[in-house]
Amino acid sequence: MNHPTVLSSRIRLARNYEDLPFDARQPGVSETVISRTANALALSGEDKGFRLLTVASLDAAQRSALAESHLISKDLLNSPDGAVLLREEDAVSVMMAEEDHLRIQAITPGLSLDESARRCFQVEDALSRNVRFAFDPQLGYLTSFPTDTGTGMRASLLMHLPMLAHHKQMGSVAQIAAKVGLTARGFYGEGSEALGDVFLVSNQVTLGRTEAEIIATVTALGEQLTGMEHDLRDHALREQRLATEDRVGRAWGILTHARLLPLREFYSLWSSLRLGALLGLIPVSLDRLDRLPVEAQEGHLRGGADPLPEGESLDAARSRRIRALLKAS
């Protein structure tokens, strides 16, 4: 069941081995991290469903596709010696030789940080039966940057907030978030952009709070924003019905008929379309719509079951892929 506002929940835990330098580019570090982690997981018997992929063994399209699906971080792609233990069926990954030795990550649909946390801790527990992580009773889990020390945990919500963005409220949201140790920022695009009105809400503070407290704070902000977004949507339908229908209808028209679709334009139209689906103005399921932002990106267009034909531009391939996905609904 797709959530109207929260696209996904993600937990990421930073962990390091106590006897190794943080910098995986130093000789022997990444090899040790990878073999030790893979062995520890196998020994625990919890390795079912995990595949070991090294960054070096993946081609460019495969790398991009994994990053676009958020299964691995962009930072990992910058570590040529890095690798990932990936359990694709439920989006659990153990990235190795990134900024920290390990980044244990789980992504779950909707507002479900408790569930993503449970999956991460299960993997962490399995590993810690056979390896020792750097830990200090005062400072908690030790990480390569002091900004992650303590729980080493980032709890994030990927949120679609078209109405709050439309009413230019995201600046104040970010300000309020900062007061409680959280951040809210645009997810797609460069710098302070928020293409597609998609925002990432996450904790900034990692030391001095329990994991449960951090998750509760992020979840509370997620619920608040969901409520605000819902009220603004209702208001738009009541007070600005024609303008809203026009926005949604135009987006539908272009997405189903355009032959060249640049990524930036796609994001903006997708946001209007998703808003229309939430308001019941177009008969497209959220399940289908929520796949589009990933499918529209370069790695997915170049690879996969329907690869880019020679000579076709990305914008042309994107319009084709989006038309096909919308037609099937």
Partner: protein, 178 residues
């Protein structure tokens, strides 16, 4: 890591500044970096920080954290981590520590920084548990706590009380075994 000025965007630049003879490292996002460069081109270093701050304050109304402009009070201490050879000076430059041993070597110097970033310097979260049984007890406790919180939210206080007793029993049991 996030920009130390706006606390909103991802920091892409690490800038070493020398202000009145004191060196400090700042992590900035492209927006704040641009604000700083605009000011730098005027050759006004002292006005630079205030330009960044006012640019941010006017943009989204955010109050810059006091840590944003705080200058180091003392010269950078000459300490080296005995485990990996990282110096405190190089950590100040890159923001990255060399190995877990650095936390011990620089413990005193890191405290004010951690206080600034997190507001607290005593870990309160999970800790490593090696035995499978202890891990199982903890997962069970976490699960029961979650159910208890849900029950409280639904105002089902009878169930919440039962769960609380179970959590308590589990804790005493664990304590007795340890």
């Amino acid at each position: 890591m996030l920009c130390e000025e706006c606390n909103t965007n991802e920091a892409k630049f690490a800038v070493t500044m020398n202000i009145n003879g004191e060196t400090c490292l700042r992590h900035l996002c492209p927006d704040c970096m641009r604000a700083m460069n605009a000011s730098l081109q005027g050759g006004n270093v002292a006005g630079m920080l205030s330009a960044i701050l006012s640019a941010i304050t006017s943009r989204n109304g955010a109050t810059p954290r006091s840590s944003g402009v705080k200058q180091p009070q003392e010269p950078i201490p000459d300490i080296t981590c005995p485990k990996c050879g990282t110096t405190f000076a190089s950590f100040r430059k890159t923001g990255r520590l060399g190995c877990p041993g650095c936390y011990e070597a620089f413990r005193k110097e890191l405290q004010p920084m951690l206080q600034q970033i997190h507001g607290r310097v005593q870990h309160a979260g999970r800790r490593p548990l090696e035995s499978e049984e202890a891990q199982r007890t903890r997962s069970r406790q976490e699960e029961l706590t979650r159910l208890m919180q849900q029950a409280v939210l639904l105002e089902d206080f009878e169930t919440a009380a039962l769960l609380r007793d179970q959590i308590h029993a589990l804790a005493t049991e664990g304590g007795a075994e340890a």
